[in-house]
Amino acid sequence: METNNEMTPQRSLELINETLEANRKAIIAGSGKFLIMWGCLLLVFSLAVWGLWHLTGSPVWNLLWFAMWPVGMLVSRIVGKGERGPQNYVSTLIGKVWAAFGIFSPVTAALAIIAFPMNISLVIILLFGFAETVSGIALKNWPIIIAGAIVGIGGACAAVALAPGAEQILLFTGAALVLALTGVAIQVRK
């Protein structure tokens, strides 16, 4: 790109629009990578918890979930190799929505275990879908909005329909697949 001072006003406006659009796409692509990473991580953890619970018959393996957030932080550092993509108010908002999910989920799960028994799968899957849909709205991206609604609403219904037990964990395996595939779809569309 040259330092050309002979631009027409029309060309200047075109350039501004093109650059803003390219910027928006780059930020969405960064979110796609983020969704793939967390989708894969959730897939691994859900299969591990389900497998161990199924094999041993003990729900104590659910404690593994508490390790997912620190492991995710570590993996995102390794995957990102310390590089940060561009940040704007949308990407910051999305980061904070997922950070809120990352706080609500373990705290609610811990309270459910300690003092207030509840269908924790229902609560977490609903929060998960809600966070994904809010991310999609912020990014103005329909695949993410729809995927979040399917995971959240469908997952909540399934959590009630399924008998309590290890099989409930498979809901998160399904959510993980939707999350990762949404990320792949974003990357492909880029």
Binding site: M1, N4, M7, P9, S12, T19, A22, Q87, N88
Partner: protein, 94 residues
């Protein structure tokens, strides 16, 4: 009467840089190169001009062991960009 176009922004590369920076909280040198397709030398010169005018801040630091140059649009730069877009509209609207 046409509004005067800011000569500092009425340059393809500087305008592209400012368009990236007003749409982000911050962007690093590598990202700006990717988005503008500019050479490192040319981009560096234009960043210096924008920084000298107070339109952007340039911060040199490290991320891990790698050097990282981070650029941000200042309020002055954002206002100048908004005034430039308004001026463009007055041209096109005539």
């Amino acid at each position: 009467m046409f509004d005067k176009l800011d000569p500092l922004l009425h340059s393809e590369l500087r305008l592209a840089v400012m368009s990236v920076l007003v749409g982000t909280d911050e962007a690093d040198f590598v990202y700006l190169r990717q988005q503008t397709g500019a050479t490192a030398g040319n981009l560096s010169v234009q960043l210096d001009k924008l920084a000298a005018a107070g339109y952007i801040t340039v911060e040199k630091g490290f991320q891990g062991k790698k050097p990282r140059t981070t650029c941000r649009a200042t309020d002055t730069g954002r206002n100048a960009f908004a005034a430039y877009v308004e001026a463009l509209r007055s041209y096109i609207g005539q």
